[in-house]
Amino acid sequence: MTDDVVITGAGAVIAVEDAEAGLPETVRSRGARAERVTRLVLGAGGAALDAAGLVATDGPARPRVGVVVGTAFGCFLTNDAYARRLDMGAAAASPRLFAATVSNAAAGELGIAYRLGGPAVTLTAGTVAGTAALGHASDILRAGRADALVAGGADATGLGLKVWSMSGGFAPGAPPTDAAAFVVLETAAGVQRRGGPVLGTILAYALGFGDREEVAARALADAGVGAGDVVRSVATSSHLLAAGGPHALRSALANAPRGGLVLVVDACPTGHAAALVARAA
């Protein structure tokens, strides 16, 4: 581990209709052609990059700036639309839809829009994927494989996901909604060099399967703090799916006193669990 990982920007979108508000024109036009989850990622990721002062929409891809997206269901709605057409026979298969049936489409679009040539990673771990993405981004930065990463979680909801869920596919705690929440993570040394803002510091994270309390205890132990040191402990909002963890972190840091410790505990009915410890700036 070579350096502290700090948060230098944050952005969130809760309604897809608001996703393109405030984005540069080139990004808005990409979003207009994209599927729902990609629009959410462009909106929240773009807002986080803007807040961090790291927007670039032309020029060569930046090799040390990348993206880590966490998503529970990714391109599910596109899969559903493509598969229903295909059910009418192979001649009905849509190349436009099939090309978007990859969960990393949103990371790819964000990378093209904002010239991100560093690691381009998408992860799923049920609804814990957003918190897992933040944790993995911090590992990449500490390993020295990037200088800045826009990381977070996003999921798009719609009729296809709802019908599948109600048919036994997935049982969220509350009716899910569209959401994306992203932050920009950088090494402390890197942001100090460029003079960017600092909203907080990631101290530790942990991932596990089956026991959220055990995972939270591991994250606290890795951070070298006790449960009593935490000023804001938040469980995620399950209706925000993979955006829940990053959204909870963003809100907790904004509301914590200066220097206060924040614990985010994230769990999914699938068994996936994650916890993250951060210190407010």
């Binding site: 891809a61 990348g66 990859v102 679009e109 040539g117 560093g118 381009a120 991932l207």
Partner: protein, 386 residues
């Protein structure tokens, strides 16, 4: 850089060349191709309809990708001679890649209304199934980098081991053949009847299916329990093209960045590498891009290169894991399998020293595997001999 080192102590595969690492390796070295007309599901309206299917009837499970992953994980577990209880469930993780997950169950639901098994549809489901079967309580994550997914799953595993988040990780990938994917690549006009990586007459990819899983373990942990080490996972890298959603960057810049990043992570110079496992899909654009990218990193013709997609097809989210197992066998055996289907090298790829026609004896200390996928995803791994 962490002081902890990731090593590989177990391997398992379910491949179109047969069950188990032995059948897979023997088929590769012999230059066999498992590509044939699709037989397992209705394919009369699919053109082309060639693919490399897994034919083992014991794996006829509605959750085909999950069954493949579990079969490969069980072989890897036995190969590693792991005692899960002794390791401790909280110290064991699962990192898999897939591009289709339980798509066969989803297709069945849409076609017939059969809702059984719908919880196994999402991409996270195969990793969840393996985690439950193994009894793991550590990190469980599924990498989603299209055709570079399982390459990156091994990168995740290396990061967890090196950062002390786990002592043992089952890492790999799984994917299946179904109408969803065959019709999809067909309608993109990306497929052919025969996979011919880097050949002047190549016309497209041929799909395959199966799973490959390796046990990534902390080196000291492996030494303490007296495990056999198959190889070291020395470096990982990833990079986005940031150019196009389906076509690779013609200049190979993203793939070159991923390879250079993996070498930097390993602390090695390009001339330390003795062998490169290419993505080598057999599509005109991919193979030409890779020739440029590999040339950028290693220089023209300096290092032997192969592709195994002529033998087992393009197994998508499992491809990088299959190639990792092949690299580990190359390191152990000093033999590079030939590129099945390659007869006449495309002049655009002539800068590569392509192994074809027959296996090549080649003492190999360091191997690099590179993968690329839709949305401009690239990932690379560097392996060292045990």
């Amino acid at each position: 850089m962490s002081a902890r080192l990731a090593v590989i102590t177990g391997c398992g595969v379910v491949s179109p060349l047969g069950a188990g690492v032995g059948a897979f390796w023997d088929g590769l070295v012999a230059g066999r191709s498992a590509v044939a007309s699709i037989r397992r599901f209705p394919a009369g309206d699919l053109a082309p309809n060639a693919a490399a299917e897994v034919t083992d009837p014991s794996l006829d499970d509605p959750d085909r990708a999950g069954a493949f992953a579990l079969g490969a994980a069980r072989e890897a577990l036995a190969d590693a001679r792991l005692d899960v209880a002794a390791v401790g469930p909280a110290r064991i993780g699962v990192a898999l890649g897939t591009t289709l997950g339980g798509m066969q169950l989803f297709e069945r639901w849409i076609a017939t209304g059969d809702a059984s098994g719908l919880a196994s549809v999402p991409y996270y489901a195969p990793a969840t199934r393996v985690a439950r079967a193994v009894g793991c309580r550590g990190p469980v994550v599924t990498a989603q980098l299209a055709c570079a997914s399982s390459t990156y799953a091994l990168a995740l595993a290396a990061d967890w081991v090196r950062a002390g988040r786990a002592d043992v990780v089952f890492a790999g990938g799984t994917d299946l053949l179904c109408r969803f994917v065959v019709a999809g690549f067909n309608c993109l006009k990306a497929t052919a009847d025969r996979a011919r990586p880097f050949d002047a007459a190549r016309r497209g990819l041929v799909l395959g299916e199966g799973a490959a899983v390796v046990v990534v373990e902390d080196a000291e942990h492996a030494a303490r329990r007296g495990a056999t080490v198959h190889g070291r996972l020395l470096g990982v890298g990833a990079a986005g093209d940031a150019t196009h959603m389906t076509a690779p960057d013609r200049e190979g810049r993203g793939a070159a960045r991923a390879m250079a990043g993996a070498l930097a992570d390993a602390g090695l110079a390009p001339d330390a590498v003795d062998f490169v496992s290419a993505h080598g899909t057999g599509t005109p654009y991919n193979d030409a891009m890779e020739a440029v990218a590999i040339g950028r990193v290693f220089g023209p013709g300096r290092v032997p290169v192969n592709s195994i997609k002529g033998a087992i097809g393009h197994t998508l989210g499992a491809a990088g894991a299959f190639e990792a197992v092949m690299c580990l066998r190359v390191l152990a055996e000093g033999t590079i399998p030939p590129t099945a289907g390659l007869e006449r090298v495309d002049p655009a790829c002539a800068g590569l020293d392509l192994v074809h026609g027959a296996a090549r004896a080649h003492r190999t200390s360091v191997a690099l595997s590179t993968s690329s996928g839709f949305a401009g995803a690239n990932a690379a791994l560097v392996f060292g001999r045990a």
